[in-house]
């Protein structure tokens, strides 16, 4: 173990963690307004990515067009999930929404294998340059783009929430949905917009992940749901800052685990972490209050 290894792992983890952070931001927005778990979040992203890669394979679409297809695809599939799994059920029927979103997960995977039957599909790479050398450390340029995109989107979401009228409405719905309705906010419309926005953000994350891998399988759906979920729980439910911190931390921990304990241990870290969190620290890093509040509301309703 050397200082260079530690630094390189941390750097690699930070870059991969950026994609987890982006996934978690979308996840936490959906959880915040709905107070229900959307298991179809990852598969929604997968559907967007598959539409993008289908455009790439069959039409030879350039990378930028693929990005647009992925974002719009994920947003529309997100709308579909919201309509089918969330809008019809009230907050009182959390299990119904969750189980319904599981059903759509299966449906979206089936649809994806019909669209592109082979297991592995090519995805247009983001930047095919040589890694940058910073002293003894190596840094992939496409990873740098991923980190920059994450910070940009996190900044934009923070601005939206803090400074705009829609942001005020979203926070009001997260905070106290009944009061939001009473002051005249169209709660269902805000929920739908947030859901679509979060799915689109997930689409960006999915695009970046697939582009840095240069290939994609339908497993990216499950992968995105689980990584996003763990990163969200780590940071604390319903907090954008927490989601970013949780995602970056998860990435760094995984990178170290892979280096010191072996690649087969990497995913166990996420699950082990989720278990420890739920057992001992259910509020997450920054969301203790958020969780208390959600539970308090749950008791009231």
């Amino acid at each position: 173990m050397t200082a260079v290894d530690l630094a390189q792992n941390t750097l690699d983890g930070l870059m991969v963690g950026a994609s987890y952070a982006l996934l978690a931001v979308g996840f936490t927005l959906i959880f915040g307004v709905m107070r229900r778990l959307n298991l179809a979040y990852g598969p929604t992203i997968m559907a967007g990515v598959y539409l993008g890669t289908a455009a790439f394979i069959s039409l030879g679409a350039p990378t930028l067009v693929v990005l647009v297809v992925v974002i719009i695809g994920a947003a529309l599939v997100g709308l579909y999930v919201e309509r089918l799994c969330f809008r019809p059920f009230g907050e009182g029927a959390r299990a119904a929404s969750m189980v319904a979103s599981f059903a759509l997960w299966m449906q979206l995977e089936e649809a994806a294998t019909h669209l592109l039957p082979q297991h592995m599909n090519p995805f247009p790479p983001l930047l095919a340059t040589q890694p940058l050398e910073i002293g003894p450390l190596l840094l992939r340029a496409d990873h740098l783009v991923m980190l920059a995109a994450t910070l940009l989107i996190a900044g934009a979401v923070t601005y939206l929430l803090a400074r705009t009228k829609l942001g005020l409405a979203i926070r009001a719905v997260i905070d106290q949905p009944r009061a939001a309705a009473i002051v005249g906010i169209h709660v269902e419309r805000v929920m739908m917009l947030t859901f679509v926005l979060a799915s689109a953000i997930g689409g960006v994350a999915g695009f970046l992940i697939a582009a840095t891998d240069g290939q994609v399988t339908h497993m990216i759906g499950m992968w995105a749901t689980t990584k996003g979920l763990v990163a969200m729980m780590l940071g604390g439910l319903g907090s954008v800052k927490g989601a970013i911190a949780g995602g970056l931390l998860l990435g760094i921990l995984e990178a170290h685990a892979q280096w010191f304990l072996g690649p087969q241990v990497r995913d166990m870290v996420a699950w082990g972490l989720l278990f420890v969190l739920l057992a001992f620290w259910p509020g997450g890093l920054m969301g203790a209050k958020a969780l208390d509040r959600t539970m308090a509301v749950g008791r009231r309703v």
Partner: protein, 239 residues
């Protein structure tokens, strides 16, 4: 101003309101008294559009608003100060007020109205950057009233504004209710504090088990009888 005819609202098979008719006259303070479980809060939420009545009509200034969304009812000039205040706990006092003006587009006037609220409720000005969840119960009640006023309502519905507050604060709340009414706001008030309610009300109703059982001016019924019926209900079985 507000005219309610034969409203039935149910939770599943259980009818919480079994045909309620009442009215709140323009420029007056109308009070609704009754024991817990009489359906008072259900009625308030039915009027505000949060709950959908199964039957009956609700008219606001002559227009039928039955079954409309809360947002369109707010747009027609009705604001509700809900039971338990329901401030936005993780938002600042100022943001709570902004949320109250959510439907308004005149941002300069909204800013002026926020200043007016601070003038009326100096405690809110002192705490305008504080999260609403950290305010005391009385301050939260002031904030809930101010938030409702931010939509510039023609009629203000207040659901048990004195709930859980110290007597001095209750006096303050009722002083504000009187002031608002003098400024021309029609008020429809649900209360458990019979004494204070009868002091400010121009007209009052008694509600028991989902029905209106008395309507009249304060003084038409002895206060202790009102108290007995408002707290216990006449049809309560003893023993």
């Amino acid at each position: 101003m507000l005219d309610i005819q034969d409203i039935v609202t149910a939770y599943g098979k259980i009818e919480a309101l079994k045909g309620v008719s009442l009215a709140a006259a323009e420029g007056r303070i109308t009070c609704l008294l009754g024991p817990n479980g009489a359906g008072k809060t259900t009625l308030m939420y039915s009027i505000a559009g949060v709950l959908k009545p199964r039957r009956g009509t609700i008219k606001l200034a002559g227009a039928d608003i039955t079954g409309q969304s809360p947002a369109s009812i707010v747009a027609r000039g009705l604001a509700l100060v809900p039971e338990n205040r329901l401030v936005f706990p993780q938002m600042s006092v100022a943001e709570n007020l902004e949320a109250g003006a959510y439907q308004r587009r005149d941002s300069a006037e909204v800013a002026a109205d926020i200043e007016r609220m601070y003038a009326r409720f100096p405690r809110l000005k002192e705490r305008h950057t504080q999260l609403a969840g950290t305010l005391s119960g009385g301050e939260q009640q002031m904030l809930a009233v101010a938030r409702a006023l931010m939509s510039r309502p023609r009629i203000l519905l207040m659901d048990e504004p004195s709930l859980g507050l110290a007597p001095l604060i209750v006096e303050e709340i009722f002083r504000i209710v009187g002031e608002l009414n003098k400024d021309g706001v029609t008020i429809f008030l649900v209360e458990q504090n019979v004494h204070m309610a009868l002091k400010v009300a121009h007209h009052f109703y008694l509600m028991e088990q989902g029905r209106v059982t008395f309507s009249g001016e304060p003084g038409k019924l002895a206060e202790d009888e009102v108290i007995q019926r408002a707290y216990l209900g006449t049809s309560r079985k003893t023993g």
